[in-house]
């Protein structure tokens, strides 16, 4: 329904665009969207202290412990602050902590807190607030989506939360000591992640009730909403807009020159795009697909690298292989051939359109290895020579008796179904894959399901091939590798779930366990490469491209930056 609305509105707006084009007889470009008349780049704005921005629809939660969306995270990083934060160059810098020390075994972090930290209500904030907040975030009462992040602590369980020894504040509140279960090269990244942001104990506890063990303190603007970051929520018209105003008690308030952030809340990127064009918004975090070709011409169009991979997965236990007469080994060869038959560059150029890079690995390019280097050091297949890939795919199919190179045709009917959620871009990608496979005679049909149903079907393994995608929460390969352990809720390919198969998936589970406990970072990186190799060797995971993150920002705004995890930082923005 919503999808339908968006496309209908798009059609309507495109029709309007055509009318507008008709007036200026010279404009015959095919980019007949509402943006056909690209406005001149504005280089200055009268109001230097207000920024109007749009990220997405209203996030489910702005309580940093409960939030699990990227747009909610953007609001969190601008209104709360953890021990660490990201600088404009993507590096981590101390924030609420002034400095930190790591023990030799890498298991104990000691943070020295900055002096004079205050909450937005003027009360002082110290290490004990972090103890309270982390324990709360990981507690069973809060039952946060991201509670798995607390698995890094030695005494954490889902039933009891954190233990008293996991995180300890000194008497004077000046130091915070954190004990980890095993070496965690991304721990400082986590310290800049919303789940680990401090929340105000008084505000939270006051808003709790017998029915509400979480606390409704962050459900509305007002006195209850206490934070420690650059902006404090001053008004919230649900599903319409929010206003954040500068928090004068923020330790770094001197460097905040934009005093008001107005946030538009809508799910419709066409509506936001219109407001951007009328100048009512200064920043939009997404651009309607139909407008991308026009928008890209503008100097206001920006692309950020994203740490994430768009891919699809084969169900390892699908009966597709039996029906084709393939044993487990042959099935692997079959999947390998499919992986080679896809023209990834075409998908990036015509569907993605924002300069996505074709993927040749599961772990995205740009992800670090936890040992000072980039993780990606291989290509599981060539992405430059599509013709050669197709030739290789044909000979692979021939080797399992499905293809005859002499007649250049399949020897039997090969049909299966591609499952995706019913979003235009995903369906288009399915259609591109369909066309690539049809070129060798493989008949792939596309099934669309509504998002919530789609997730259930995929999880239950009721599919042959399904669309997948993941943007990393933190910059470490284990974040993606651990999705495929046998018991993981994301094990959509059903690895290790059919004991009649000879696939040894207990070995993969063990690999992930070893990665989690390995103290030697070089060895750990090596183990992660082995795990990715083992995963990719099933050819159940077929990467298509690495995500990127297009956004638009007016020419008069400087100093807005983002991270590879998709967070956007506005507090150092300046307006010309």
């Amino acid at each position: 329904m919503k999808k339908k609305l968006v496309s209908l509105v798009l059609v309507a707006s495109m029709a309007l665009g055509l009318v507008a084009c008709g007036k200026s007889a010279t404009d015959t470009s095919s980019n007949a969207g509402t943006g056909s008349e690209a406005p001149a780049v504005e280089t200055t704005k009268e109001d230097k202290t207000t920024l109007n921005i749009w990220m997405s629809s209203e996030p489910a939660h702005i309580d940093p412990a409960l939030n699990s969306s990227v747009d909610g995270g953007c609001l969190a990083v601008n209104s709360f602050e953890g021990l660490m934060r990201y600088a404009a160059d993507g590096s981590l810098e101390p924030a609420c902590a002034e400095s930190y020390e790591v023990s030799e075994d890498g298991l104990t972090y000691t943070f020295t807190m900055r002096d004079g930290l205050k909450w937005s209500n003027g009360e002082s904030l110290d290490a004990s607030d972090f103890v309270y907040s982390w324990k709360r975030a990981a507690s069973p009462e809060v039952a946060a989506d991201y509670s798995y992040l607390a698995e890094i602590f030695p005494s954490f369980t889902y039933e009891t939360g954190l233990g008293d020894e996991d995180v300890v504040a000194s008497e004077d509140g000046k130091t915070l000591t954190v004990h980890l279960k095993s070496v965690c090269p991304y721990f400082l990244d986590l310290c800049a992640f919303p789940f680990f942001f401090p929340v105000n104990e008084e505000a939270v506890e006051a808003s709790k009730s017998a029915d509400d063990p979480v606390g409704s303190w962050a459900n509305d603007a007002g006195e209850n909403f206490v934070c420690n970051g650059a902006y404090v929520l001053s008004s919230w018209n649900h599903d319409s807009d929010m206003t954040y105003t500068k928090n004068d008690n923020y330790w770094d308030a001197d460097s905040v020159s934009v005093t008001t952030l107005n946030v538009m809340l809508t799910a419709e990127n066409t509506v936001a795009y219109t407001a951007y064009q009328t100048g009512d918004l200064d920043f939009i975090d997404d651009i309607p697909v139909a407008e991308i070709p026009t928008a890209m011409q503008s100097s206001e169009f920006n692309i950020l690298d994203n740490l994430g991979t768009y891919y699809f997965s084969f169900n390892y236990n699908s009966d597709l292989y039996d029906s084709l007469g393939l044993n487990e080994e042959d099935a692997k060869v079959f999947r390998h051939a499919i992986a080679l038959l896809i023209d990834r560059q075409y998908i990036c150029d015509t569907i993605g359109q924002t300069g996505q890079v074709p993927a040749s690995t599961f772990i995205p390019a740009g992800c670090v290895d936890g040992n000072g280097g980039e993780f990606k050091n291989t290509d599981y297949y060539s992405i430059d020579d599509y013709e050669a890939n197709v030739t290789e795919a044909k000979s692979l199919l021939e080797s399992i008796g499905l293809f005859d190179t002499a007649t250049d045709a399949l020897t039997q009917d090969v049909s299966f179904t591609y499952l995706t959620n019913n979003v235009e871009g995903n369906v288009k990608i399915g259609e591109a894959i369909q066309a690539d496979l049809a070129a060798v005679g493989i008949n792939m049909s596309i099934d669309q399901e509504e998002w919530n149903v789609f997730q259930e079907t995929r999880k239950a393994g009721n599919y042959d091939v399904a669309r997948e995608g993941w943007i990393m929460d933190y910059n470490d390969p284990v974040n993606m590798l651990e999705m495929y352990t046998t018991e993981s809720g994301n094990n959509n390919p059903q690895f290790g779930k059919d004991s009649s198969k000879s696939l040894d998936w207990a070995k993969y589970d063990e690999m992930i366990d070893n990665i989690r406990t390995e103290a030697d970072l070089a060895k750990r990186a090596e183990l992660m490469h082995e795990a990715e190799d083992y995963l990719m060797d099933t050819w159940c995971i077929i990467p298509l491209y690495y995500y990127n993150d297009p956004y638009m920002i007016k020419g008069y705004v400087d100093g807005v930056y983002g991270t590879v995890e998709g967070m956007k930082y506005f507090y150092h923005a300046t307006i010309k």
Partner: protein, 303 residues
């Protein structure tokens, strides 16, 4: 009359209960759940959440708990964002109702006037002009109207801001919402007015020398109103509870979008609340419609 109203209220109550029952079991029957996330949430966390919201109990028990809570005025909290359902309604319904009420008033007033004019000046140019525009408006869904308004008044003319924090647009959404019912009321009024004006009693009234104004308004329009009232009752009910499309385009944060959002999110408590709310408003609107019949036309017997 009183007996009739009591009977109808009881019937309305039963209708709402049946609707809630069907909705409750239907929404639980469709695949998906409120805690599905792209990154699967750990089973322990899901179990905690299900226990908190009683979703771990058998369905019939869940329904009984739900009905009991409602009887105490407790509609629960949204499973998606933990906010009280009554807070969600308290802030979003007035937004939709304000726009809806204004749109209804405009649609009814303009529809009656235009329809009467068209009927009285049948086949003359005012009739033709009105019918021409009415036909165009009827064939344009509200989202097209809304998009057109946004395009011309916000982008081209710059009379209104497409986004302004803390301020909801009123004029454009009211226009977008009122045009289509206005067109329908105009057509209805014209047809039934023509029908009424052709009746014997009109001729009688005229023959008795009643002034033409009185003939039109007291004898003509009053009798022509019956079909219009039949349409207007449910129309007001649906327009008051908000239009998803118009609210999305003008970023209003009204109740309209909640209906669809609730289902997409499998937000069970919100699905129930929106359904019961809409059902209640609908049966009330129908009840009022029936009573108004009686007022307009005393010949109608209610029992």
């Amino acid at each position: 009359m009183t007996k009739y109203v009591v009977k109808r209220v009881l019937l309305a109550f039963a209708t709402v209960i049946i609707i809630s029952l069907i909705t409750f079991f239907a929404m639980n029957a469709i695949p998906g759940g409120p805690f599905n996330k792209e990154k699967a949430v750990s089973p322990a966390v899901i179990a905690q959440l299900e226990a908190r919201y009683n979703l771990d109990k058998p369905l019939w028990e869940q329904y009984i708990i739900y009905v009991k809570n409602i009887a105490h005025g407790d509609f629960g909290v949204s499973l998606k964002n933990g906010r009280e359902i009554k807070d969600i309604f308290a802030e979003s319904f007035p937004i939709s109702a304000k726009i809806g009420l204004l749109a209804s008033v405009i649609a009814i007033a303009a529809g009656l006037v235009l329809g009467s004019i068209a009927a009285l000046m049948r086949n003359k140019w005012p009739d033709r002009v009105i019918i021409f525009f009415i036909t165009i408006i009827t064939s344009m869904p509200s989202f097209v109207v809304a998009t057109l308004l946004l395009y011309f008044f916000c982008m081209k003319l710059g009379w209104f801001s497409a986004f302004s924090a803390g301020e909801n647009m009123t004029v454009l959404p009211v226009i977008a919402l009122s045009l289509s019912p206005m067109a329908y009321i105009t057509r209805l009024t014209k047809t039934s007015m023509l029908d009424a004006l052709g009746q014997d009693y009109i001729r009688t009234a005229k023959a008795k020398g009643v002034s033409s104004r009185k003939v039109i308004f007291v004898h003509g329009l009053r009798n022509a109103l019956i079909p219009v009232i039949t349409y207007v009752g449910p129309m007001i009910a649906s327009i008051l509870t908000g239009s998803m499309v118009v609210e999305a385009i003008f970023n209003l944060g009204g109740l309209g979008s909640k209906f669809v959002m609730a289902i997409t999110n499998r937000d069970y408590t919100l699905i129930m609340a929106t359904t019961i709310f809409l059902a209640t408003i609908m049966v009330i609107a129908n009840l009022i419609t029936d009573i108004v019949y009686k007022v307009v036309d005393p010949r109608i017997k209610l029992d």
